[in-house]
Subunit: 152 residues, 2 copies
DNA sequence: AAATAGTCTAGTAAATCACTTGACTTAATC
DNA sequence: GATTAAGTCAAGTGATTTACTAGACTATTT
């Protein structure tokens, strides 16, 4: 399971992707639209900014906006930035690798091999899906169409 | 990330799969082999027994053994039994479904659609991999061969 | 009867999560 | 240049979950 934090980040970024190119957006506006606790969202956006994903402007007329176009930001990236390891086990995580202390030999651990397969499949999907895709899917689904069509 | 509990369960069951047909095995023997805290392992095995995956015998010469052949127990099953939800979000979990309260409409939520894709890919792998596969992979890897070969 | 094993109910220390508080900085506008 | 509208940042906190442990009990074999 990913954390609320990661989920909030995805939602906030999806909103900003929808508004991309229309100037900065207020934290509180995003918070209201997506029902995210405002002060918590502040933390999250700040962190994403420090990682270079967002830019911000202070003072009146300020707010947040994407640092790059939505097509160049992947869901995988976002999850990794917000601390959500994609892997099911530490020993197969690229970003949060940690040895399994109880395992005698990592190279021959059957569990690890399977979990690595899962991790790779997960990463493939999440790294291939961009914020632009996320938004588009939502819109297509809203039109009642099959949301998978476009991904072919 | 799956819990230690789930990992321990997988390891213990893998051991029991290796010894399948050779009579019961002691908790303490499994615990020693896999470096699992003994009393914690007791809890885990008991739970798996109550779910029907294991049988046990008390008294001298007793211990635990698989209730079914290793080829008929999938890794996915085990993870679900030990409380590890496969999905990255509650709204796409089959076993631990919970609505996303902040999401306006589940059907058109782009995030959910992507996460569902991930869940399905994950479940496909984990439900197709049995304890027998797990053991076999470990053995093949130990021989220095490519562990993926056999799965074709 | 003695020894061997699993069963079951509690409890607990540590970590993590999901936030909140409040003081501070920067920028635009009047 | 004062006011107001924003983002920034460091701490703290309450609830929950995790990863166990303790200890008394039950069943089976020798
Ligand atoms: S090395 Fe991580 S599970 Fe074995
Ligand atoms: S419904 Fe679960 S993320 Fe939107």
């Amino acid at each position: 399971m990913i954390s609320q934090k990661s989920k909030y980040a995805l939602k906030a970024l999806a909103v900003l992707a929808r508004e991309y190119g229309k100037g900065p957006m207020l934290i509180s506006e995003i918070a209201n639209q997506e029902k995210i606790p405002r002060t918590f969202l502040e933390l999250i956006l700040l962190e994403l900014k420090n990682q270079g994903l967002l830019h911000s402007r202070k003072g009146r007329g300020g707010g947040y906006f994407l640092a790059k176009p939505p097509q160049s930001i992947s869901v995988g990236q976002i999850l990794r930035m917000t601390g959500g390891p994609l892997a099911l086990l530490p020993c197969v995580s690229k970003t949060a690798y940690r040895r399994c202390e109880e395992c005698h030999d990592e190279r021959t651990c059957g569990i690890r091999l399977v979990m690595k397969e899962v991790r790779d499949a997960t990463a493939k999907i999440l790294d291939a899906t961009t914020l632009a895709d996320l938004v588009k899917r939502g819109q297509l689904a809203a039109l009642g169409r099959d949301a998978l069509e476009f991904s072919i």
